[in-house]
Symmetry: none
Subunit: 238 residues, 2 copies
């Protein structure tokens, strides 16, 4: 533990320290489970104040590189599971009820998309919607339900607005809620009627988009999303 640590000089002391220790871990000079010297000693090694050293260690702990054990010391962690999750994901994971906020946003975007899709859809857009619809129809006969077909259908509508942002954002939102979407799909298979109902709703949306009826398409989509939402909430309370 003699001179592995280089003196700090130029800018943003804690970040420099973070960088150095990260490098040492990467180079294997600091092994997982290894104990670092106490704060005071470390600060002296680096030639910085204890506050700066502490900040650095805190950042490293937040990032998951080290673990601070009270009255024990600072230990290098195995960085096998780098779960660097995004702030929004943290909030969503914290409390499931936040997913309803996300669903609200999805509705905002999808309802607007459906309206515009009905106005601007081309025949090629229609066939893109039809593909997952057909597959879902076949599945329904066997009381199956494939979430990916459902997603594909909704994305096809977003695509029909000819605004790539709507597609990507919707996809991002659906990915965020993926776990729970899967749960809903699972439940739907149990009650076979649900599968047929969704299929029927999708068909009606498709028809409205096909005949270029923005208001109709929009309200069908609203009905559909609201139905799913209620189903979802019902499952959630069980």
């Amino acid at each position: 533990m003699d001179s592995v640590f280089n003196q700090i000089r130029p800018y943003k002391i804690p970040e420099e320290i973070v960088h150095q220790i990260k490098s040492l871990i990467k180079e294997g000079k600091l092994q997982p489970g290894e104990k670092l010297p106490p704060e005071r000693t470390l600060a002296e090694h680096f030639g910085v104040g204890r506050s700066s050293l502490r900040e650095a260690i805190n950042i490293l702990e937040t990032l998951g590189f080290v673990e601070i054990k009270k009255r024990k010391g600072i230990y290098i962690r195995s960085v096998s599971s780098p779960i660097m999750s995004d702030p929004l994901i943290q909030i969503l994971e914290e409390d499931e009820s936040n997913l309803y906020k996300l669903y609200e946003l999805r509705k905002d975007i999808e309802l607007a998309s459906t309206y515009m899709a009905a106005e601007h859809r081309t025949s090629s857009d229609l066939s893109k919607m039809l593909k997952p619809l057909k597959r879902m129809e076949e599945d329904a006969e066997r009381a199956h339900f494939s979430l990916s077909d459902d997603v594909e259908f909704h994305l096809a509508i977003a695509q029909a607005t000819h605004n790539f942002l709507r597609v990507h954002i919707l996809k991002n939102i659906l990915d965020l809620a993926d776990d729970y979407m899967g749960l809903i799909a699972w439940k739907l298979i149990e009650e076979t009627t649900g599968v047929f109902l969704i299929l029927d709703q999708h068909k009606k949306i498709y028809e409205a988009v096909k005949k270029k009826d923005p208001h109709g398409a929009r309200s069908m989509m609203e009905e559909h999303l609201t139905w799913v939402e209620e189903k979802w909430k019902a499952f959630g309370t069980k």
Copy 2:
């Protein structure tokens, strides 16, 4: 900013603070872009030492909830990154014509927000809308126009939906278009009538939200956004 912060007592002070601030963001009591009081003041509010407060802020920064700007202050960040993902932002910055797509999305979200705001607004929401409105009124007399007041008004509407995601996403979108928004603002000042027109539109939106008229509010907002869009396109082609 009086008593949003609760005194800290029990265990692990910095983590308590982190939790409180995360909650405040989730509840929408801290808006994206909002500036927190300086460290010393915050520490006093929480009743803790500056070191502890600093640790908390550092953790929040590492997690991506706040941004620390030297000699400026601590700012709440938009937590919508998985939705408005980096690659998406890159694409947007690459090609100016994509901004029209972005504006479409903004309309989707703001129209839905305005509708819901008119349904759910509280009196406190109204006063948050009123503040930038009043400032804009005073500015208009002097043929001034402050973009930040405009943004604040729109964000206040999003806030009135009581869905923090809407606020964060809208802020994100507005930030992305910031340069161009600034350009529009500049042009508007040249033709004084534009400033008054915007003020008038804002007022009408406010009134509709106040009297809980979702459809009215929505269509006023649509009129407003469409007008700005046309103005913008007109400038763009010059």
